[in-house]
């Protein structure tokens, strides 16, 4: 029967087990991944199973790295996310977390849009490092993604988004993630997209400041193609700042909503 070992097609006898294959292909492998899941007990293989053999601590070549990373994605998911093109508008607390999450997921292509540079005040919740201070957020995020998953294609645009450039900039993406800080920019982007590009999927956010309950942050499907995440009321203001945990909760909702749209799970 046919199976895949480290992404290569391999023919083995019926009844062959995962550990039989490890013993003949890579005896020193200490991690055995079967169909995206690390196994510790031996199991008989079936036709088309995907087996990945990893030696802990061994630095793989770039080609090996790609197949080893693909192995960790749930089968059926990778094929779809690998074809998706997602635009993230705003690379602050929401956008930087969403970009990292989608990169780890193995998204095909990202368009990162922001006009700003990394500042010390961003480090309380955004995915940048001290060494990025002063750097354009688009460049800093592109660098971070290349260190996490070098197989994600990344386009960047250093522009301030307004109603005149939205349709040009976002023309080719499948899904738009609204990750602005400023409420007027949120409204402008979403109003413009809903009117001029009604077929575009939009995943926005509103209300995630403070340390209020986790459980008031929800995902709502506002219209067919428009999802809105947050508690809807917790505004960032003096005495109620933005902090990593709750901003990350909202960013997690947004990233998972993007994944669900790609996987054609359109309900919330």
């Amino acid at each position: 029967m046919k199976i895949f070992v480290n992404e290569r097609t391999t023919i083995v006898k019926e009844g062959t087990t995962a550990f039989d294959v490890r013993n003949s292909f890579k005896k020193d492998a200490d991690i055995v991944v079967l169909n995206g899941f690390i196994i510790s007990d031996d199991i008989a293989l079936k036709e088309n199973d995907k087996l990945t053999l990893i030696k802990r601590g061994e630095v793989p070549t770039k080609e090996e790295l790609e197949s080893l990373m693909i192995a960790r994605h749930t089968p059926g998911v990778h094929e779809k996310i690998n074809k998706a093109f997602v635009g993230i508008v705003g690379l602050g607390g929401l956008g930087s977390n969403i970009a990292v999450s989608l990169a780890r997921l193995g998204i095909g292509k990202l368009l990162l849009v922001d006009f700003d540079v990394v500042e010390p005040s961003n480090l309380n919740r955004q995915q940048y490092f001290v060494k990025h201070i002063g750097m354009l957020k688009t460049d800093a995020m592109k660098e971070i993604i290349s260190e996490i998953n070098p197989f994600v294609k990344v386009d960047t645009k250093n522009v301030f988004i307004d109603e005149n450039n939205i349709t040009d900039i976002l023309a080719n993406v499948d899904i738009v993630v609204e990750a602005f800080d400023n409420p007027k920019s949120k409204a402008t982007l979403i109003n413009t997209l809903l009117q001029k590009m009604p077929q575009k999927y939009i995943v926005g956010a509103s209300g995630m400041a403070g340390y209020f309950s986790n459980n008031t942050i929800v995902t709502k499907k506002v219209r067919n193609n428009f999802y809105l995440i947050g508690d809807g009321i917790s505004e960032a203001k003096p005495g109620c700042g933005l902090m990593a945990p709750r901003v990350s909760i909202a960013a997690g909702h947004q990233a998972n909503t993007v994944l669900r749209i790609i996987m054609e799970e359109k309900d919330v």
């Binding site: 602005f180 409204a187 109003n191 809903l194 009117q195 509103s206 947050g230 505004e235 960032a236 901003v247």
Partner: protein
């Protein structure tokens, strides 16, 4: 009229702009949908609502 699923009473001939004022909402921080259609901002001052309309107002707060 039905606003965000809640029944509310307003004067006849109220415009979207006046409704937003009464609800204390900033016109630049909202998306307004009347009978499932998005209303462009430049129409807020002239768009008169009537009592059978189903109105959804999505209002954004800062932070991200």
């Amino acid at each position: 009229m039905l606003i965000n699923g809640k029944e509310m009473n307003f004067d006849e001939n109220i415009t979207i702009e006046k409704l937003l004022e009464k609800l204390n909402l900033n016109r630049d921080k909202v998306v307004v949908e009347v009978n499932f259609k998005i209303v462009p901002k430049e129409k807020y001052a002239e768009h008169i609502l009537n009592h059978e309309d189903k109105i959804e107002i999505i209002s954004f707060v800062g932070g991200g």
